[in-house]
């Protein structure tokens, strides 16, 4: 099944009943799929909105009204959504936002890239908030993580982003959809009309600075809980590794191919693949650094996750880097060759500065 459609199908199986989006390459198959499927599901609402901005704000309304809601776009459109995402975080509304990254900055191009890592993990929008960011690497993970995203969004009343790229959206792989978990969420915030009870307000505007500070710390406490409980990663051939590649998403797929060639050439390479990009699996990476001292970060960008790796490992290990921005997707052979040039058994990896 095609990646973009996998996300749609997984969302609907997870109970997503509201989707608003605007066409942008390379994720158009996703709104098209939702348009087809949502009309066949009871209570399903699909709106092709007039812009990415309108879409995120429709999601705000739909989420407040109690529906599992999703919007999707690609890099420039995600830039447009930032105010809305900040609003979701402030009002503590659950939602899933899908970013199928493409070359940038600016209008960029339509080829896959990983240049939105900063935007996704460092807020993106204004204010003190975080977004849970999941980085799938296979079509199966697109399915699993999309379903998990809705659960996480509800559990923490927070926006969750699926950070994939154009290549993952287009590729076709076999997928098995897991059973969705029942929806668990506190119902007291939902806007349904006051009925005979007290009327409710959902707002992000808090004029009194001390009250606003308290609200910020409330959110921050939530993010600390998430940081402790939700980091995920995958280790691939790391047990006996002398050198660890760090990559996510499509980068990780290329890295796995490179590792095969490196091992054939005699270098015992392994992979540390973050699955949650926020919260970044810092502690797990540091644990690995107790035994392995050479790392190479590989991204389809000029080096964004590199900074999180540095935060985790600077002083504990040597950190090298290889990146191809702009929509260029290198082959595993190229990556293996670069690693071999940069890694020497005696001196370790050439550090990136």
């Amino acid at each position: 099944m095609q990646g973009n459609k996998v996300i749609g199908e997984a969302a609907i199986r997870a109970g997503c009943r509201f989707y608003a989006g605007y066409p942008i390459t390379p994720q158009n198959e996703l709104p098209e799929y939702m348009a087809e499927r949502l009309r066949l599901v009871e209570g399903g609402v699909f709106i092709q909105s007039e812009s990415e901005i309108a879409a995120i704000h429709m999601v705000v309304g739909a989420s407040a009204a109690g529906a599992r809601s999703m919007t999707s776009s690609s890099s420039p459109g995600i830039s447009l959504k930032q105010e809305g995402i900040s609003s979701l975080a402030a009002c503590q509304l659950p939602a899933v936002i899908v970013n199928m990254m493409r070359g940038g900055p600016g209008l960029g191009n339509i080829s896959p890239a990983q240049g939105d890592y900063f935007q996704a993990t460092r807020g993106g929008g204004h204010g003190d908030y975080r977004v849970i960011v999941l980085g799938p690497a296979t079509a199966q993970e697109l399915a699993d993580l999309t379903m998990d995203a809705f659960d996480l969004a509800d559990r923490y009343r927070s926006p969750v982003m699926i950070l994939a790229d154009g290549m993952m959206g287009q590729m076709m792989e076999p997928v098995i959809f897991k059973e969705p978990k029942p929806r668990v969420y506190p119902e007291n915030y939902i806007m349904k009309g006051a009925g005979s009870g007290k009327s409710k307000i959902i707002r992000g505007l808090i004029l009194d600075p001390l009250e606003m500070e308290e609200h910020n710390w409330t959110l921050e406490r939530k993010y600390r809980v998430i940081s402790q409980q939700e980091p995920r990663h995958e280790l691939y051939r790391a047990d006996d590794a002398e050198l660890i590649l760090i990559a996510y998403g499509t980068g990780a797929r290329i890295a796995k191919g490179a590792i095969k060639r490196l091992r054939e050439a005699g270098i015992r390479a392994g992979l540390f693949r973050p699955i949650t990009l926020w919260p970044f699996p810092t502690n797990d990476l540091r644990d690995l650094a107790k035994s392995v001292k050479n790392y190479l970060v590989f991204e389809l960008s000029t080096g964004q996750m590199l900074e999180d790796v540095r935060l985790a490992l600077q002083g504990y290990a040597r950190i090298g880097f290889h990146g191809r921005p702009g929509g260029v997707v290198p082959t595993p052979v190229e990556l293996a060759n670069v690693v071999m040039r940069q890694y020497d058994r005696k001196q370790g990896i050439i550090e990136h500065n």
Partner: protein
């Protein structure tokens, strides 16, 4: 003696933060009266704007959800599509509806979303201190048009009701004002009709209310009410622009 006029039940008893003579206060009360009379307090959800009325949730005793500046109609669309049997209204000012939010307003109207939009047109950006609005009149002096609005630099005032009445998806559009008891009662009828059409599922309604802003027009409340009659009315004529269910479709500006 019995009480024949008092505070509507859907209006909390907080003192309005609006200026003396502000049209927002009157519009709020009219909407609350309509909600009471129609008995829909428990099923109404309101979306306040960014602007002077951002704190509308301190006054309306109904569920309310804040929207970012200009995005009210999009948020209202999301709520209404998920909960079609609730009454959803978006309450907006000039900048919210006609500047930053024009795309959301236009397309919610074009899709014929079954919501009600109350548009408070006071020809100026009130909350932020009196800057020029899309509906500011030619020659009107504001803090960002200190020598008066000029067409070549600043364009012309936008007649939102006229423009939206051209969209086939809109059902009911009327422009009123609240500068006298008579006009206030007419405005209330328009608001009532707009909410009634929503209850009946008839589509998108827009009630534009010309509203005095004494503070930023630098007038007394009485002078501001007169200015609406003498000046604003000429650019923004009162009346029904569209009323599909009533079988009328008026030329813009003519009174029914």
């Amino acid at each position: 003696m019995k009480k024949v006029f008092g505070r509507p039940k859907s209006m909390k008893s907080n003192i309005f933060h609006y200026c003396a003579g502000c049209g927002h206060s009157i519009a709020h009360r009219l909407i609350a009266e309509v909600i009471d009379e129609m008995g829909i307090q428990g099923i109404t959800i309101g979306v306040p704007p960014a602007g002077c009325a951002v704190l509308a949730y301190n006054y309306f005793d109904i569920d309310m959800i804040e929207a970012q500046h200009g995005r009210g109609p999009a948020t209202a669309t999301g709520i209404k599509r998920v909960l079609p049997d609730r009454i959803v209204f978006s309450y907006q000012g000039d900048g919210d509806l006609a500047a930053i939010g024009i795309a959301e307003s236009f397309h919610a109207a074009n899709r014929g979303e079954n919501i009600t939009v109350v548009f408070i047109n006071n020809a100026v950006y009130g909350m932020t201190g009196g800057q020029m609005a899309p509906t500011s009149m030619l020659g009107q002096k504001t803090t960002t048009s200190p020598t008066g609005r000029k067409p070549i630099l600043d364009g012309h005032p936008v007649q939102v009701s006229e423009v939206f009445s051209l969209l086939p998806g809109t059902t009911y559009i009327e422009r009123c004002t609240v500068n006298s008891p008579a006009s206030i009662l007419k405005a209330k009828k328009a608001i009532r009709k707009a909410f009634q059409y929503q209850v009946e599922g008839l589509g998108f309604s827009l009630v534009e209310i010309l509203s005095p802003c004494p503070t930023n027009w630098k007038m007394t409340p009485t002078e501001a009410c007169q200015w609406i009659d003498e000046v604003m009315n000429k650019v923004f004529p009162l009346g029904v622009l569209k009323d599909i269910p009533a079988g009328e479709k008026k030329e813009s500006g003519k009174k029914p």
